[in-house]
Symmetry: none
Subunit: 276 residues, 2 copies
DNA sequence: CTCGCTATGGAATATACTTTCCATAGCAGA
DNA sequence: TCTGCTATGGAAAGTATATTCCATAGCGAG
């Protein structure tokens, strides 16, 4: 064992972990991964707890500490205990404090948006009709290709959906209108279109959804109200109410809906393939 | 001694301390005062350390714990340690189970993701250091141009930031790598770069952040752990821990952080312009 | 002033944790 | 296939910590 000195700060420690982790045996690697992912637990845990959480024996965790240059777990723990930033007065109190700490300070703003995001998520489960969601998933999973369109602030959601579907091996086309290219002739019967738009609604998105409907594709709409111009286009309307802040729509709830769509469609597809 | 049950939460504990502290003898009063003033030390200290810091004997501190209804110091400490660790462990395993059980109807999935999103938001307020956030906002608002880079799943966040900054009249360039075009020479001294990447980290994003740093731009990193390759590049590291589900990173918390950045920078800019 | 009660400090004990050690399993090279 | 090395798990030893106990100091009441 190379007799190196113990890291003197958490930074140094992480550097050292990065440095050695490639040449580490399996169990020690598990320790490294766990520590990097959960550095906050070290200060308040025992070796036994850390080892169990990392899926190794306490002795293995000890060896890990020693490889890093510490005399043992206790020394490593001292590092974390000294630089321990308390997380509690638990959530609500902390949020309150954050908010009060200077009305317009960035962290006060963050607190606001976090709270708004939580509210949006709460309402999401209520406003989404399970049956509509089921039908939408079915339509998407049966489509030979999924077209996705969403511009301006909805573009984040569109790009995330495109990424997710691609990862799930679902044939996907993201209509990003780069170079003002409108590729609505790419949509065919048997395809599906996901159109995302919020007030003030984007004309291009609505146009593409309409073109898709005319071409015989199923259209799934993600929008913000029943007054959306997408309502005449399709019965598959997933409405998400999110807190607005001036021009800034929080997308927490919309993104969660997007992930749910992706995973649901992906697994449905897989099951269908296995079933055949 | 009145045989009351132990407080079940930190709030209850503090209530109880307030309640009894008037009728407490000198040394026990010292303990009460110290605990109320430094509750954050309890989770990471031993009785001996707490006692010394409070200026009493360990046995006195023990009596104090018992007066509050605890069996001893350990039980009281567990309260603080547990409250530090969020209900966040084995979230991915939970989702994995859900997925394997096949019972994942779309709306059940949605509920899971909503819950995961809420957790992510809660931890966000803890993992973000207000000072780092302040400095990051300052750097961004002083930049003559903000460059944004984030690829793959981080692209949603990048595009949202670009949209938001543009709306806020902040000069912005989104490095989207369309056509594999790498425009890193566009970054100059006095600019700022926001680099967003999550494990497995995208080499292009890191490269652009490095190029920015070399060019003399301030770099703000949005990433998922202290082990991120962006850590050597910049001290302005905003880490967001979010529940992963296979390849699917929920972005609720990251998006909230993005909105906070946009609004904070936007208003800072506006104030500066009015001030001049 | 004395008695009796409570508070206090320190030492003794018990417990829990860390750390080490050893036997064995696994693996790579001869 | 055998040999030697490394990795691993489990248990034992050591250490630190929590907890209890008791002797005594302090204090108020009679």
């Amino acid at each position: 064992m190379d007799a190196v000195s113990a890291p003197a700060s958490i930074e140094e420690l992480l550097d050292r972990i990065m440095e050695v982790s490639d040449g580490l045996p399996k169990r020690l690697r598990q320790c490294a991964d766990y520590v990097v992912a959960n550095p906050d637990r070290i200060a308040v845990s025992t070796v036994a707890e850390m080892a169990e959480a990392a899926g190794v024996q306490p002795s293995a965790f000890m060896r890990f500490c020693q490889v890093l240059g510490f005399s043992g777990f206790s020394q490593m723990q001292r590092l974390f205990r000294d630089s321990y930033i308390p997380a509690w007065p638990d959530y609500s109190t902390r949020l309150e404090k954050l908010r009060q700490s200077g009305a317009g300070s960035p962290s006060a703003l963050l607190a606001e948006f976090v709270e708004a995001g939580r509210l949006s998520l709460e309402t999401l489960t209520r406003t989404i009709d399970p049956r509509t969601l089921d039908v939408a998933v079915k339509a998407l999973s049966e489509a030979s290709m999924v077209h996705i369109v969403g511009l301006r602030r909805a573009f984040s959601v569109a790009s995330y959906l495109a990424y997710g579907f691609e990862k799930m091996n679902v044939p996907t086309m993201l209509h990003d209108h780069v170079g003002k290219l409108d590729s609505h002739h790419a949509i065919r019967a048997g395809d599906a279109v996901i159109a995302i738009t919020f007030a003030p609604y984007s004309a291009e998105t609505v146009a593409l959804a309409e073109a898709g409907a005319r071409a015989g594709a199923s259209v799934v709409a993600i929008t913000d109200s029943l007054a959306s111009p997408l309502r005449p286009v399709t019965p598959l309307l997933l409405t998400v109410q999110e807190a607005d802040f001036g021009d800034f729509r929080l997308l927490s709830a919309t993104l969660s809906l997007a992930v749910a769509l992706v995973v649901a469609v992906g697994t449905a597809n897989r099951e269908r393939q296995n079933g055949i």
